[in-house]
Amino acid sequence: MISSLSAVLIVSLVVVAFLVASVRDVLAATVVFAAYSLVMAILWVTLQAPDVALTEAAVGAGVTTSLFLVVIVTTELPLAAATFDGTVRRSSVAAAVGVTCVLGVTLPALPAVGSPDAPAFDGVAPYYLDQSVPQLGIENVVTAILAGFRSFDTFGEVTVVFAAGVTVLVIFEKEVL
């Protein structure tokens, strides 16, 4: 079952998520969103996924927040009153709750956490776990998959990151080389 630490983290995650949506100031919302990422990162650690935790902390809580802050500071802030006035339409609440309930119906169909019968452990996962050291000599299976077995996918991801940089340079019409 869920440990007390995980329970506390999950509850605070939900609380922080509501705060992000309900805080009036955009700057405050950005900072609270960083806190959300930080709680999420700790949760990843408790779920024994340190690689994801490191990414969440560095990208989610760190760099994304600074990018948001910089963009907010260099653009004109909308009036706080115009962003959120505290009233929510009942139909919106009904729709959100309805969708959540419909999605919740699928929850019992999910395998238990860590179950060896989960579909995720059925396909290529055992192969990666077995072959990571003998084939590539890499102890960190996450790295073995990302940079070894599935490096073509990762190459695509790096190209996306690179494209983001190129896009910004093109938009600001900077000829750097």
């Binding site: 690689d51 990414t55 190209t159 690179f162 940089g165």
Partner: protein
């Protein structure tokens, strides 16, 4: 917008001054040791870039932007993608298919290929995140007047 964005708090500047070398080293460690411990190129690259971002927040975005070489950063981003592509195409020379790192000769050929790939990813990510930050903040705008 205010032009003078330098932050003068001694606590902030001294803390950043003290911590930056350690965070930078941790970023490089994450990048180089992705094969044997937590992390990899993506995470390491972001941590390295975050050092520059922290410096910018502490010592002023414009001042840090002046200190950086835009051409070098763009070149680094290109170099990372190109070296990843080269390592990916390398196995073709050893009767493998592209990105089949096990085709590299030697007992640790695949391991070295993956480590080069990790560093290439790290270089591209670090350079790109730095470019994104300074372009979006206008810190690379030397004249900086028109905004």
């Amino acid at each position: 917008m205010g032009d003078d964005r330098a932050v003068d708090s001694v606590v902030v500047t001294q803390t950043v001054r003290l911590l930056s070398p350690f965070v930078f080293t941790y970023g490089l460690y994450t990048m180089f040791h992705g094969a044997s411990s937590v992390g990899g190129g993506f995470q390491g690259g972001v941590v390295v870039a975050s050092v520059v971002v922290t410096l910018a927040f502490a010592f002023g975005i414009d001042q840090t932007g002046d200190w950086l070489d835009r051409g070098l950063l763009t070149g680094a981003a290109v170099l990372g993608v190109l070296s990843f592509a080269l390592v990916g195409l390398g196995p073709l020379a050893f009767d493998g298919v592209s990105f089949e790192f096990t085709a590299y000769p030697g007992e640790k050929g695949a391991l070295y290929a993956v480590e080069v790939v990790e560093v290439a990813i790290g270089v591209t990510v670090a350079a790109t995140v730095t470019i994104l930050f300074f372009e979006l903040s206008g810190g690379f705008d030397e004249r900086g007047g028109s905004e």
